[in-house]
Amino acid sequence: MKDNLSYTEKRTAYILTLPAVCLVFAIILFPIFANIWISFKEVELKDIRIPEPRAKKIVKTVSGDENKIKILYKLRNSSLLQEIRKVKFEDKYPKNLKPLDLDQRCTYKKNKINCDFGTWPAKYKENFQILFKITDNSVINKKELKSIKPKLDGDSDNILLNANFTLKNFKKVIFENEFLDLLLTTFYYTFFGTIGSIIFGILTAQMVNQKFYGRTFMRSVLLFPYVAPVVALAYTWELLLDPNSGTLNSLLINYQIIETPINLLGQKYIDINILGIDFKLRLALTTVIIFEIWRYFPLAFLFILARLQAIPKELYEAADVDGASPFQKFFKITLPQITAVISILFMIRFIWNFNKFEDVFLLTGGASGTRTLPINVYQQGFAISDIGTGSAVSIVIVILLLLFMFFYFKLLGRKVDEN
């Protein structure tokens, strides 16, 4: 009896989870494996379409002879690159039509024509025509005749499925396109974005954890950048930072803080002098990182605030009795209590920032030194339309992420052991 129950339980569980598992498998897990496959292939965007035989049917009257009608088929191979084998052609006609001349490749039977065109090379084109005799002197409706569509069929190789593999894509990724610079940019973007959003998260959480009028309102306002659509925010920032008619530059010029407008999103480097030391700051990258911090610190804020509110009040009361200062309370009580949350946040934000595509794409499109790895996936795959190399870049992303997670957990594990 019990076995029977656990059996039905198992069966129900599989039935209940099956749809979700199938969908996730098809859309998320399968593409990851497909990516590995594609990254070893030389594929371009235009190769993706499966080549197919096509025909355009044109009906013509024969001048001087009302009892005859000509049907012209413009045949072609849709692919510019691949051949199609065993092309089969089939079309139907009304009963009152009889073919006068028939191509050798075709047979006519029961008002149906069947042709065997053999192999069409790439770019193949042919005008194929048949002359018909109208047997009962009636007027032929051209439109009706045209509305019967011919059926075509043929075999072709799907470039994605053949077994030609190459290492070219990975060579291209690693030895061309300034790979090191790409890695560094991605690292700066990810690391400083993560650190910045966590620091601002701590500050704001500490702020909102105090009691003041309008606190709930403040909490929702702080989350606005996180919940609003990227597209809207990115274009607003672009308008705000525009060198010609942007509000920020106009304000700074108006208050005589700067003399000429700064192109914050379009300038790669800016010379900065701090304490007599000159150095070049990557301006566009910095701006993009600031946008990233602005948009994602709310997540850190929310996590840390939830943790802060869970810290027992007794800890602070005891500290007050001992005469601890506010700074001591922050560093000795608050900070140790939120380190666990911060380490989780660091990992989540690091992974997500590492893969962030939309923000940089919308703000700069990857120009002026803001090309990160995800942007490169898009540029390789869709701008240069080299799908294989794009795939190789995404494989590099996955490998780097797995490496990061491996070392991070190892480091975290050691920390836990020490404690």
Binding site: K10, L16, A20, P31, F382, V398
Partner: protein, 397 residues
């Protein structure tokens, strides 16, 4: 000791006053007041003197009288002596100073004898400073988005600092950008597409997620723990990695440029979050209810419909709101999969609009307002449910 504390207090509080007044000055500039200098140094010294004197003479003069004297001095120097500014500006400054003094009330003479008074002050004022600054920095772009959508091309180019909206003009003129994007750019259609896609994603996700979450929360089966850990891993997985394979497969299957294709992808990407959130909630429902139902010979299907669903309406609605927001905001996949303007979603349509360099910026901002408003509305209205879900680690971004 005490004097040192008072000086530190004055410096910090004048910094707060400085930031308040500066923000007020920036906002006034944007309303057309001619201000070409923020006068940081003068304001700082003025603020310092005012707060310092305020503490010194605290016991001698009544609070209200002090407030009036100091605010009068401040406004006279800032709004009249340095630069002659309009009345409404000075009135605003007056309100800000009242607010500021109200905050200062707490820090009286006795307070400065306290051992940790400097640190307490720094902490308190950093909080105040932070609240003001963060609200400004966060709300300003939204404010700009809204104002720009009501302006004309010429007004934007002539004076980018003019943020005033002329309410006296005809309503058709005022909302011109909105009329244009609905008429010439078919935004009505895009709103419809976005709504269909988002609602569809919500429905399919719930349909798939509720049974799966129930199985993971309640039933024992082989592979259960594997499934619940892989949910989290899949949730972390980067969308950019999926783009190329999905693009190739969808091209070959003819699913690009179709709402159906988008629906599948959105559902698959939101499923892990939905299952994760729901199973957490299902676990908190007492088991006894179901045990009684099993004795009544109710099937699993019946249990989910009759017991679990009615009990978990809050959790389900918060998941639904999330999924809706994720699908509504989604940009990456709609950029990759849609290139026919007939099947655009709102986000994709705005990006397409911006691709044409000649599109006036106010149209772009009007579009941005349209795409942002529903999300912010949902968020503010249902904030209570959503915030608890957010901390459960739900929204990916």
């Amino acid at each position: 000791m005490k004097i040192k504390n008072i000086i530190i207090f004055s410096i910090i509080s004048s910094l707060l006053l400085l930031s308040l007044i500066s923000i007020w000055k920036i906002l006034s500039t944007l309303q057309g007041v001619k201000l070409d200098n923020l006068n940081f140094q003068i304001l700082f010294i003025l603020g310092f003197l005012v707060t310092f004197l305020n503490v010194i003479i605290e016991k001698k003069i009544n609070f209200l009288i002090r407030l009036f004297i100091f605010s009068f001095i401040f406004i006279f120097i800032d709004g009249y002596l340095i630069q002659n500014l309009p009345f409404w500006y000075n009135f605003g400054s007056f309100l800000i100073i009242c607010l500021f003094f109200n905050k200062l009330k707490k820090y009286n003479n006795d307070f400065f004898i306290n051992e940790h008074s400097t640190q307490t002050i720094i902490f308190d004022f950093l909080t105040l400073f932070g609240i003001v600054l963060f609200s400004f920095v966060i709300l300003f772009p939204f404010y700009m988005m809204l104002v720009t959508s009501f302006k004309t091309q010429i007004a934007l180019l002539v004076n980018p600092l003019d943020f005033s909206i002329n309410f006296n003009q005809d309503i058709k003129e005022l909302f011109k950008s909105y009329f244009v994007i609905f008429k010439s750019y078919k935004f009505g259609k895009y709103i419809l597409t976005s709504t269909i896609v988002s609602l569809g994603t919500v429905l399919i996700t719930l349909l798939f997620a509720i049974p799966a979450a129930y199985a993971i929360a309640r039933l024992n089966f082989f592979g259960k723990s594997f499934m619940s850990t892989s949910i989290l891993i899949i949730y972390m997985f980067p969308a950019i990695v999926l783009v190329i394979p999905l693009y190739t497969v969808f091209s070959q299957l003819g699913l690009r440029n179709s709402i159906f294709g988008l629906l599948i992808v959105y559902t698959a990407t939101t499923l892990p979050v939905a299952i994760y959130m729901l199973q957490g909630y299902f676990k908190s429902i007492p088991k006894e209810l179901e045990e009684a139902a099993i004795l009544d010979k109710l099937s699993w299907f019946g249990i989910i419909i009759k017991i679990i669903l009615p009990l978990s309406i809050p959790a389900i609605s918060s998941v639904a709101l999330y999924v809706f927001m994720i699908a509504w905001n989604e940009f990456l996949f709609s950029l990759m999969f849609l290139d026919n303007p007939n099947s655009f979603t709102l986000s994709r349509a705005i990006q397409y609009l911006s691709g044409d360099a000649e599109t006036p910026r106010q149209y772009l901002m009007a579009g941005s307002v349209i795409v942002t408003l529903p999300v912010l509305f949902i968020f503010v209205y249902f904030e209570k449910y959503l915030v608890s879900g957010l901390t459960a680690g739900s929204v990916k971004g």
